[in-house]
């Protein structure tokens, strides 16, 4: 279950650069779907208003339900409009490459279009401290850049992982990708791995700060006592760092695409009522500290798609209703 939660909900498609690029594409498509499907739903509601109002009134369904759907669709279309615009920009740059323009030149244009680094710099709190073998006790900095330009850098100070100079809002998914790659690199040379993210500052600001302060205390105490290791740590060699920078460079085009899309970071809760409301005596729930936008927006697309499909089904095949 944990693996399913990780790969579907928390950090989907962060295994390698190709997966990451596909993930950004799926996110863009999700925003397009979340923009277009509600518009189709609104169109159906307005075009077939007589039929749907008659159906609700003759089948003991509150007519206000239709208004709820209308508000729901308008809300989602409004919310996803920036994402749909971002998807259009991604498609535009992809089209330029398809039309034979120089890929590097297009990437540079994209980098300029991404704008300057914004205020939103994602921070994650790791379960283990990360240090460079040649710079023990020092913060570690890895460039996120390719030939087309810089997309900031990843700074690791103990357990604090920070995407510095991120474009626009930055993306927690980059941090998830980095953690996954560190595990791959360490496992490849037979070292201990098991690096994971415990808190995402964008989502749990206070809990992340509390944890980071606590770890800082532990590391200060470690220095003061001169002991080897109070807080668990992983050591990266220079070769590891080079390999990580190479992998980070490989996802730069996808990061530029992702910068065009809104980054909505939320935690999630799944509830399964065994005895439903209004009694609600027993319900099962499971929460995730982070739900990747691909998962949350993907679920929203499924819900909207199902709602539009049901509306279309009612229009094409009106249900039997009792005669008067």
């Amino acid at each position: 279950m944990t693996d399913i939660a990780r790969h579907l909900v928390r950090e989907p498609s962060v295994g390698n650069p190709t997966e990451y690029a596909a993930r950004v594409l799926r996110l863009a498509l999700a925003y397009v779907g979340l923009f277009v499907l509600p518009l189709v739903g609104c169109g159906l509601l307005i075009w077939q208003a007589h039929l749907l109002v008659t159906l609700t009134q003759r089948s003991n369904v509150e007519t206000l339900t239709l208004l709820f759907f209308l508000v729901f669709f308008v809300y989602l279309a409004t919310l996803s409009a920036p994402g749909a615009l971002g998807a259009a920009r991604i498609a535009y740059y992809a089209l330029l490459v398809r039309l034979g323009r120089d890929r590097l030149a297009v990437e540079r244009r994209k980098a300029r279009a991404c704008g300057l680094p914004g205020a939103g710099e994602p921070v994650a709190a790791l379960n283990k401290a990360l240090e460079r073998e040649s710079q023990r006790g020092q913060p570690l900095c890895l460039a996120v850049a390719d030939a087309a330009g810089s997309m900031g850098s990843l700074e690791i100070d103990g357990v604090r992982l920070w995407h510095r100079d991120a474009r626009r809002d930055g993306s927690n998914s980059l941090l998830g990708f980095f953690v996954e790659q560190v595990n791959h690199v360490l496992q490849a040379r037979g070292a201990d791995a098991g690096l994971d993210v415990l808190h995402w500052k964008k989502i749990q600001d206070e809990a992340a700060e509390e944890y980071l302060s606590f770890v800082r205390f532990a590391r200060n105490l470690e220095q003061h006592l001169g002991t080897a290791e109070l807080w668990p740590r992983l050591i990266l060699t220079d070769a590891d760092c080079q390999e990580l920078e190479r992998r980070l460079a490989a996802i730069c085009p996808a990061l530029r695409d992702e910068a065009f899309l809104p980054d909505w970071e939320y935690s999630g809760e799944h509830k399964l009522p065994l005895i439903p409301e209004p009694l609600g005596l027993i319900s099962l729930s499971r929460s995730e500290t982070r739900v990747d936008p691909v998962a949350s927006m993907g679920c929203a697309v499924l819900v909207v798609g199902a709602a539009v499909a049901v509306l279309a089904l009612l229009v094409v095949f009106p249900p039997w209703v009792p005669g008067s």
Binding site: L51, T54, L55, R58, L313, F317, P318, P319, W320, V321, P322, G323, S324
Partner: protein
């Protein structure tokens, strides 16, 4: 993962098919309309309508017959409710009392009934 998704998709398709097969109502279509003038002065116009149900289910439908006077544009109308079974074709005869005129019939049929 893939078998689970395929299973869910199949379940959704099955539900849709069952829904369409067992829960849908009528889809009435006007197959033919024939207007007969009054047999005698003061008698009603007789409109014969052939209705065909092309839906997978039956139900009550609203039938509205309009006679439009081509000279004045005025209409005379009459509505009635008709029960249609699955696959049924029925002849409905509507007798419309209207002043003498040059009428053109128009028939509208709606499901679900208003």
């Amino acid at each position: 993962m893939a078998p689970r998704v395929i299973g869910l998709a199949l379940a959704a398709v099955m539900l849709s098919v069952l829904w369409v097969w067992h829960c849908t109502g009528a889809r009435p279509v006007v197959a033919d309309v024939h207007l007969s003038p009054p047999a005698a002065a003061g008698a009603p116009y007789r409109v014969e309508v052939v209705l065909r149900n092309e839906g997978f289910g039956g139900g009550q439908v609203d039938l509205t017959v309009r006679l439009r006077d081509q000279a004045s544009g005025r209409t005379v109308q009459q509505s009635q409710k008709i029960a249609l079974d699955e696959g049924e074709t029925t002849l409905v005869v509507a007798e419309v009392l209207a002043p003498a005129g040059d009428y053109v019939p128009a028939v509208e049929v709606k499901y679900p009934p208003r």
